[in-house]
Structures are given as structure tokens and as C-alpha cells.
Symmetry: C2
Subunit: 326 residues, 2 copies
């Protein structure tokens, strides 16, 4: 089954570990969020692409969910001693990725080409594509400042109140080559259990991707990243609450109600089934906590299960989540 996955960081990576076991390499396209890409010490860092790559390569730091296992921080500590900011916990092994990516981009390669080369260097054949070769910056707006995600998440530890999220330059960004074709030919779109506002919406904010998702005949399954009102990793619940959205399976369902045919929610949230069904979404209840490959494969298998649409989509009815609109 030709499958396209829209992916953020840790939650997506954990799902993809299973999904890549079930979907043949040639049939899977992963569209990675690059709204959180940033430049640190002159190096181009793509946190979500790296998290997916490290997870698929089996070298991810399982405790954090990101970074490389058994990494050291000697460069970072030295940068700190020399007066540089060190809020981003850059590992020495991890640094090799950023150095190579920056070098490839400097040589004129696109982010898509650089990503493909890095995947190949990690002996991965999976097609991981950044959402765009052009920069799109997800910005967190608080009453006092506008921040990059990493600044909000790592440096300010999610303390500022979030009043808005903007996807800077998304409207003029082109999808990376192959993305629109992959969506056009897909039979299944999977929205990974990632932060809807920070990881999935930036992808949807690119007009040609949004249009392709509106036009596709593929059955779309979203997996809720919110379990019992919380997230396994990251600030999705906090951001959703901050933005006045309900940080619950229902809140996620509402967010995706015009994009998805089905939502997979955790067994802890089984009581929310009826309310979600009222949104005319199919609801599947299972364990969505992925502690190991078995959990990831189980959840992937459910996301790939043959289903029939409850509601036949039309170009009119399928619109972008309100909050993802600029």
C-alpha cells in the first residue's frame, strides 16, 4: 500500500520504526517537518529529520528520544567555556550530522539531497523528505516575544504563555520534489503522533501540500499524540491548552476533523469515543504508547488496516485545521 507519513520528531520516529517494517521501502514516503530547523554556531540543524534518522538507524538515545546514544558533549562544553550559548544539548557524535549537512548545503545541495545523502550514510533506504527545500520557520508567539521552537522549548523550557503560532514563509514555500506526486499516488496518509500545531501544521501550511492533501483519494489516519491529557514527549498538551484548544483525544480529533478519515486514540481515552464519532470520524482505540519495536509495529499495523471512509471527502469539505491557517 503506497503510504505517505506526515512526521514530526520523537513520536513520529517511534511509529516509523514499526511502519518501515511493514511498508516496502519503495511504497513509503516520509514527509518530515522542518519548521523547527535552525542555525546554531553556523550549523544547519534539522531536529525532526535527525530524530527520525537516528531512530531508524537504531542509534537514537532511547531515554531522550532524540540525539545519539552514548554520546559525549565535549565540543558543547568547550563552546560553553568559550562563552557560547549551550542551551541546545548538542552531542559530539550528533555534531557530525550537522557538520555534514551544513557542508552539503554550502556546496549547493538542496536539503532534500542532503537528507538523502545523510540517510544513505546511515545505511537507510527509507525515503525521508523534508517538507520543503526552502526555509519555513515555526514561530511561537508569547505576550512578550516571538521565539523559535527550540528557543521556546529548550532555552525557555516552555515557560512563556503561547498566544499564537505562525509558520513564517510557509505560504511561499514549495514542497520538496516528489512530495505532491507521493500524496497524489498514495493509498494511505498517516498523520504520525506528533504535535499537531508544531509538527504537522507547518507541513499543512505549505499551499501545494495542503492542496495535494485536499485532492488525494487516500484514506487518512491520524494518531493522537495526546494520551489521558498528556504527551509522552514534547509540549503538545501545553501548547494546545495555551492556544485554547482542548488537550485531549477529542481536541486532537477536532483539530484533524476536516483532514482525517480516522483517528486512533489510546485505550486510556476510550471514554471519548462517542464524542469523537459525532465529528464524523472513525475512531480506533488501542495502545498507542510505543515502548519498543513491537508496540510500534502493532500501532503501525492498525494505522495501515484497510478501512472504508465514513464520509466521502470533497475538495470543499476537506480543509486545513483552522489553527494551521496563517
Amino acid at each position: 500500500m503506497k503510504t505517505v507519513a506526515l512526521a514530526g520528531g520523537v513520536g513520529a520516529a517511534r511509529l516509523l520504526r514499526g511502519l518501515t517494517k511493514l511498508v516496502p521501502t519503495r511504497d513509503l514516503t516520509i514527509i518530515g517537518n522542518t519548521g523547527d530547523d535552525f542555525t546554531l554556531y553556523g550549523l544547519h540543524i534539522s531536529p525532526d529529520l535527525d530524530t527520525i534518522m537516528y531512530t531508524l538507524a537504531g542509534i537514537v538515545n532511547e531515554t531522550n528520544g532524540w540525539g545519539i546514544k552514548n554520546d559525549t558533549h565535549n565540543t558543547l562544553n568547550t563552546l560553553g567555556k568559550l562563552g557560547q550559548e549551550t542551551w541546545f544539548k548538542l552531542g559530539d557524535k550528533d555534531l557530525a550530522t550537522h557538520i555534514i549537512r551544513t557542508k552539503l548545503l554550502k556546496e549547493g545541495k538542496s536539503l532534500t539531497q542532503a537528507t538523502a545523502q545523510l540517510m544513505k550514510m546511515h545505511n537507510l533506504k527509507t525515503k525521508l523528505v523534508p517538507m520543503s527545500n526552502q526555509p519555513v520557520h515555526t514561530k511561537i508567539v508569547s505576550p512578550t516575544q516571538t521565539m523559535d521552537f527550540q528557543e521556546y522549548f529548550v532555552k525557555n523550557q516552555t515557560k512563556p504563555k503561547v498566544t499564537n503560532v505562525i509558520y513564517e514563509d510557509a505560504e511561499k514555500a514549495e514542497p520538496a520534489p516528489g512530495i505532491v506526486e507521493a500524496i497524489d499516488h498514495a493509498q494511505r496518509i498517516i498523520i504520525c503522533p506528533s504535535n499537531p500545531i508544531l509538527s504537522i501544521a507547518p507541513i499543512l501550511a505549505i499551499p501545494a501540500i495542503r492542496r495535494a492533501l485536499q485532492a488525494t483519494k487516500a484514506y487518512t489516519v491520524a494518531i493522537s499524540p495526546i494520551i489521558a491529557g498528556k504527551t509522552i514527549k514534547g509540549p503538545a498538551a501545553k501548547i494546545m491548552n495555551s492556544m485554547g484548544l482542548d488537550a485531549s483525544a477529542i481536541g486532537v480529533a477536532k483539530y484533524y476533523k476536516d483532514t482525517a478519515d480516522e483517528i486512533i486514540i489510546d485505550q486510556n481515552d476510550a471514554s471519548q469515543r462517542n464524542q469523537i464519532q459525532k465529528l464524523r470520524l472513525k475512531v480506533t482505540i488501542t495502545n498507542t504508547i510505543m515502548k519498543n519495536l513491537k508496540d510500534s509495529t502493532h500501532l503501525s499495523r492498525i494505522a495501515l488496516k484497510k478501512q472504508k471512509r465514513l464520509v466521502e471527502k470533497t475538495q470543499d469539505s476537506i480543509s486545513l485545521p483552522a489553527r494551521a491557517k496563517k
Copy 2:
């Protein structure tokens, strides 16, 4: 005494460790060779400037003479696993310097400004100036290829026969700001015990520096890097032999005979005194092996000793060593 030191890598750094204890900071200008600067993985590396900085900061790896002590190589090993060349033994702590320098240059700072900032970050007040803000590339010519120094020295382990050395773009390079003034006002010029052909000649190959050294009234002392036909570190003897020069104190004296007033040679080479004196150079014999700060201070004190010229220089008589001419 206002002093200018022309400096290469390890030998120079060891002398400067002593010299900086004897000459007040405001009176000392170190002109560092940047002919061996190169770009690796997109990072700007200045090997000689770094060796001097790490040595003066007391963090140099004493065994190697370069790099930072107790460093690890996790980024390098990871780059290797990802298929990158790893012949340059880049340490994780060392990498912080290259990252900061590259970032500063990218932001539009000159190499002089970047060097000053890095020195300041290492709590060093010594004025270390790159010979030029423009790139000058020392190239080693062998019968089969033309190489950068690092390529010849580290990658090819000094195996190729050297037929020539060229200082690419030296003729059009400007000295870094302040260099000409420092030489004009100097009372003492010290040519550090560095490789004459690879570390000192690139500095002399910059026309305005050459002219300033020809015009200066400062007494010029060169310290031979060759001891008993060998070098403590680096390939000076090998290169000199390869180029048909005598790898001996006499060979060094001949090389500097039109530039220096005096040459300091090692006690192991005392027998060469008479022959060198015939070149109309003052000869001072002492221990030139610097195992510790005491040795460095001792040698620096001798290099700073008040001396009278044997031969009054004229602009005509003082010329660049033949081999340093392009």
C-alpha cells in the same frame, strides 16, 4: 623592548610561552603563519594560530605539541563512520575553536578579528595576528601532485618528494592591519624556531611585510629549528633536504643570512659556529630544546638580549631568502 615575532606552529608556540612572560603584552606582536589554513567539512582551520593559542592558554596537548589536552574524537570517528575523510585528527574540544572561527568569518568578521575574539575567549591578552586576512595557500609541489601542507604532512605523511613550495596568492595579499606598523616600530624581530620554508617564508612572501622587514631598524634574531640535522617537530629537515638545502644550522643560517642579524643555534651544533660567522651573522649557542617553561624563558631571554649589529643593514642588502621568493 617592542618585539615582533614571526611564528609558525609547535616550535614557535613553545618559544612564545617564554617570550610572553618577558615582553609586556602591549610591546609584543606575534605574526602567525596562515599559509597552512584550510577548510575541512566546511570549517576554517588555522593550525598555527590554534597551536599558539592553545599553548599560551596552557591547554595544549604537550605530547603532540598541537591540539587540546585530554581531548576526545567522537565527532571525528562519527564522521569517519559516515564516510568522511578523517586524516586530520580533529578533537571534539578543538572543534569548538573551528566552529566559532567559521561562524565569525561567516558573520563578516576578518580573520584578525576572529583570532582576537578567540584569544579573548581563552582569556589571552597577547596580540596574535594572522599574517593576512586574505587567503595565502602554501602548496607543496611533488613530481606527481601539488598538495596543501596538511595533505602532504598528515594525509601523505611527508612521503612525496618535494620539488618546490609555492605561496599561492601571497603576492596579492595585504598584511593584516597593524603588522606593518608593528614592524616599523619594533626594536627586536624574532624569527621563531619554525620551519623556514613552510612557516616563515609564507609570511615573508607577502610584499608589504617583506618591505617592512627590509626597512626596519630592528635587530633581527632567528632561532634555528634544526638541531643536529633534525627537527623536534614537523618536517623542516625533510623539506629542506628535498629542496636541496642543507638541513643543518648552517643551512638555516644561509636561508636567513640576508634577513637576520643573528642566529641562535643549539649547543649540539656548536661546531658549525665558524662557518656561520663567515656569513657575517652573529652566532649564539645555547640549549634550544624547550621541554618546559624554564627552557622557553631561557631561550627567549637570549633572543631578547641587547646586541649590536655586525653589519649595518641597508635596504639593498636585506632581501628575502631566495627560496621564499615566488
